[in-house]
Every structure is written in C-alpha cells, then in structure tokens.
Point group: C2
Chain length 357, copies 2
C-alpha cells in the first residue's frame, strides 16, 4: 500500500467511453486530473478529461508517454492487450490488479477461478473443435450456449445450441476462436453486486440491483432487487470473497443468476459496471467515486443506499425520448456520443422512486 | 424563446473558476460540450471542459472565435466588461440577460432596481466625494458601511464607518472609485434563495439556505434555514419577483437579511452561487444543472429538496483537513486549484444530516 494520492495528482484511464467519462468526472470532483488513452477521437471521456492521448493500445511510445504523465493507472474495460499492461506496469501502479483483468478476460479462466473459491457457476466445458464440442454437449446437455473465451460483451460472440443439431452452426459462429460451452441455468432473475475494495483491504458493497436485459444488452437495473435477506447477504459475501481472493483494488461488478436453490455467478467485470449507474442518484458516493477513491489509495466512501432507484439505459433511438424525459423528475446522464446507432448505449436515466426500502 | 438545444451542442462559459467547472460537469451530464473563455491557464473549469480558449475579456478576435464556436453563451461571474458582451451578443444569445448583469454589477443600480420592485433594502446613498459622504452619513447615520459601486466580492472594496470620524479613511479605501454608503441592518441571520427561471418563464426556487460568513467569505450554508413558514414563502416570492422583472433565464442567487420585521435584500448575483452548492447533495437536480437547463432552453428540473445538508467551504489551509474529511461520510467537491492560498476557495464539503425536514 502506497501513500494516498494528493489532490492535483493525475489518474490515467485506459479507454475513453462512457465509463471513462463518468470516472473522469468523479476524479475531478476529488481534485484529481485525468488522462485518457483511447484510439478514437471525440470520445465520451475526452469531453471531461484533462488530457486525451489519442493512440492505439499497441503504440508502445504512446503508452510510455501516457504512464509517465500519470501517477496511477486504471481502466474502463477489460480487453486490454497484455503487452500494453507490460509497458505501463513497468512505470506506474495499475489498479485493479492484473490478475483480475486476466481472469475476467477469459471465460474459461474466470469460471475455473470462481469454482476454486467454492462459488457456484453454470456447468461449463472447454471447446476447441467439433470433437470437444460433442463431448461437451454430451456432458452438459442442451439447451446450452457456446461463447468465445475472449472479447465477448453485450451478447456478442455467443451462439445458442437448442439441440445437438445446432452444434456445427454454433461452432462456425465462433470464427475459429477457443470457446466455452455453458449449460442453461433456469434462473428467475439476474442481480448484480457492485463491490469495492480499498488499498487497505476494506470492502464496501453497494446494495444488489436487479437487471433486465433485452437482446443481450442491459435495459434496466432496479434497487432494491427482489432477494430474500439471506440471498442479499450471500450476494454480498460472494462479491467480498472474489475481491479478497484477487487482492483487488477498485470497483468490481459481479453478475448473479438467482435460482430457488442458489446464487450462480454468471461473470465478473473488473471495473465500474453499467448495472451500478443507479448509485449516482441512490448513494452519497457513487460507484465512480468509490473506484477513484480505491485507486487513489483513499478510504472508501459512504455507499449506503438512501433511495430506491430504477436505472434505464438509453440505447440507440431511445435518444428521441430525451425531450420527454427532460420534462420529468428523472435524472438524465448522457454520454456525448455523436451518433445514435442501434444497440449503442447513448446515456441512461435514473428515476428515484422513493426513500430506500 | 428559441428551440431547445440538442445534446451535442456547445455551451460557452465566460470564466473558468469553480463555478464554471461545476457548470461544465452539469452540461456534460446532459450531453453538451463546453467551451470556456478564461485568461488564466490551468483554471478549474479547463480540467473538465471540452475547450479552453485562454484569452482576455478584451481580446475581440478571441471573443469572436469563442462566440462562433458556441451555440449559446453564459457566464460564471458578473464582472464582465460591456465591450465583451457587445462582441458576443452580436453573434450568439447570452443568458442570463444583460440587464441582470448590468444591474448586479453596480450596487447603486442594484439597490435602486430592488427598491423599484417594492422590495426592502438597507438604507443607501450615492457617494462620489467627501461632501456627498458627509450628506450620506448625516442621512443614514452610523454605523454604516461604504462599498465601491463596482467589482466588490468576498468582502473586498468595503470599509466600515463606526463613527463620522472614520469617514475620511473609508473614502480613501475606495481608491477614488464611486461608492455607496449602506446603513447597518440589525439582522439575526442571512439566508439566500437560489432561484431559476426557464426560457418558457417557469420559475423554480431551491429551498432557502442559511449562510454564515467569516472575514467576509461564506463559511457554511445550512438547509433548512431558520425561517417561519411565512418568511420562507416571502423569500421565494422575492426571488421570483426579481426573476420576472428581469425576464431572467438561468439561476440567480438572492441574499436576504432576516430581521423580525422584514426580509431585507442584500444583493443579487446573476449566476450560480456558492450558497447553492448544497443542492448537489440535497436535490435530484442541482443549481448547476438547473442553470444549464435554463440556458439550453430545456424545461427546469426537479429541484425539490430530499435531504438536510450543511455545506462548508474549504478555504486556504482547510485543504489540510481533506484526508480527515475523506474518511467521513461527507461528500467532497474539490476545485483542482494548485495552490491553497489564504482566503482562496479550494473546495467544499456537503454533509447530509438526514432526510428533509
């Protein structure tokens, strides 16, 4: 553990999307400067960051300049090339830790790790070719879902196998990439825990939120989630176990499937998470500030929930509804993206539905 | 009234201090870009704005470039030279309106205007020289306070006259500038109303806050303020009367002295105001977003108060307390100023003390 960063220090953020944008605002609120590294120009985070270094994650000279201009480095997405991390880590601390990134980058590693902690995950099997897929289907059964081990998000890189006859098409959809077959889980709903761990080892979890997806993309998160008191405690203990096992620093998202028998860990994301956006209007300290506090070596803030909130993502043409939403008492958060393409997250709305219950 | 600005439009802000910083963040949250015009480099607003045009308020070419790069222009401080406004207003709309700026820039004009609305102000008299000061003292009596008509803030440009014998020294302190003599008001406390008016004429006032000053600088604002229900209603009606009389667009701060007999208007500020910082942690929509909504021609947001809050300014060496404050449940807002000079506002803390009462 290093000394806490003093206000005025610079926090580097790999990635310039909406998560980087809201992290930058949180960092500014605590008096930090921010430097974004992101290949795209006019990206959401660049509008509110002190510096935007427009360069690719394979540009070693730029990565070196980036690291040297920062006091500490964090990231807003998990698919950062290992070589980029090598370059940066030789110069500056990176939080969350590299092991969390490596674990979450690969679905097979991730599930194996979660299982090693004694947590329940969906049945899974390694798939490299038609033969191993047949073996996997024979063991796990159908329906099942084939997912690329790496680089999947928002439902991309996935193919459903309803009957063994779908196997060949599903494998083709993987484009030759290593994959994992996952058994279907008969869950009633999905919740997620946004959890934080400081450099001093302190853990603080936000109250679990209940997620609804559409077309593989998060649509809404509602707090409080539909959970029994025992499930709520279990959800938080699961998140804390993951944080401690990874000697984690920062905010982590844990997605859980709720079944009558168990909470099944779907996946973990070593970063602030879309399903934690409700914290901006439900807590004194939101997930973005909590992450910045952890990364800066500050004590974690007060993440207790003061309100019930429904967060709704604004995706693509949902932007047409902004004038109507602006006339309500909802809190709008727009990302400054120039083009409202289908499936593109353009912003979100937090509706406070009452004091916390 | 013009069409509402669409997300992606650019809002220009004259001045790059902490108010411009927090306005920029609010603008970004609604998907707007921001351009700051400010002579100083590395100013608080530049850390979070899209563009910082570093130029003086007398640089006509820069002002022209600034206006042309924005869709609408607002300001974070009231002492903008008239010539700068001429240049900008020929090219783009400016909110709040120029008359509000002109009125508040000059204490004599301001008090005359407030009196013309039937509002109560402290006894005042125009002072241009020793003879008019003698006349003013004879009429108003002592103790009284001599203030420059223009450019005073945070207690600067003021001299107390406890007895007529202090007159000469007080006049010397004015440095030859036109002044106003104000009678002392025997008030129990000061409150302020942060009020907003949209382009559609809708008015929304935040709940009055109670202010405590030290050495002429705001120290704390507490909500709710100590006011009878009647006083609270009167305070809001006073603010609304000022807004409507000025055909105002944006947020305005109204400082009121509370006496058993009346609410006496001390001064108005045609901008977001230090005594409105509590709204960041007490309302769904804070004064900064409210101002941006008005300036952009959007409907005003929900400024109802959900919590009791104490706002404390962090001034100069108060920055040494930041590590202690960070370990509490208070919400920190730091301005990114490099040097903690005495009397310099470095940040503020909002402490939520409970649900709204």
């Amino acid at each position: 553990m290093t000394d806490p960063l003093a206000p005025g220090a610079t926090i580097g953020i790999l990635g310039g999307g909406q998560l980087g944008r809201m992290l930058s605002v949180a960092a500014a609120r605590l008096g930090f400067k921010t430097c974004i590294l992101e290949p795209a120009g006019d990206c959401p985070a660049s509008h509110v960051a002190n510096f935007h270094l427009q360069a690719g994650y394979d540009d070693t000279a730029a990565l070196t300049r980036f690291a040297e201009s920062c006091d500490v480095v964090t990231y807003e997405f998990e698919n950062i090339p290992t070589a980029a991390l090598d370059t940066i880590e030789a110069l500056r601390p990176i939080h969350p830790p590299r092991r969390a990134l490596a674990t979450s980058q690969d679905r097979l590693t991730e599930k194996t790790f979660l299982q090693s902690l004694g947590l329940t995950v969906a049945p899974f099997a390694d798939v490299t070719d038609a033969a191993s897929l047949d073996v996997a289907i024979a063991r796990i059964g159908t329906p099942a879902i084939l997912k690329t081990r790496r680089m999947g998000y928002d439902g991309k890189g996935q193919a459903r196998i309803m009957t063994p006859g779908d196997a060949a098409a599903a494998l083709t959809a993987m484009n030759g990439q290593p994959a994992v077959l996952e058994g279907f889980v008969d869950f009633t709903h999905e919740v997620s825990v946004i959890a934080a761990r400081g450099q001093d080892g302190a853990v603080a979890c936000f109250d679990p939120g209940q997620n609804v997806h559409e077309d593989g993309i998060l649509r809404t998160t509602t707090v409080p989630a539909l959970l029994t008191p025992t499930q709520r405690t279990d959800a938080i203990l699961i998140a804390a176990r993951v944080l401690n096992a990874l000697d984690y620093v920062g905010v982590l998202g844990v997605e859980l499937f709720v079944t009558p028998q168990a909470l099944i860990v779907n996946e973990i994301a070593p970063r602030v998470h879309n399903s934690g956006h409700w914290t901006q209007n439900g807590c004194a300290v939101d997930q973005f500030e909590q992450h910045i506090r952890a990364v800066a070596g500050w004590p974690l803030g007060d993440g207790s929930r003061h309100s019930n909130v429904v967060m709704e993502n604004l995706i693509g043409a949902d932007m047409d509804r902004v004038p109507q939403i602006a006339a309500t008492s909802a809190s709008l958060h727009l990302y400054g993206k120039p083009e409202a393409r289908p499936g593109r997250k353009m912003g979100h709305v937090n509706r406070v539905t009452g004091p916390a219950t």
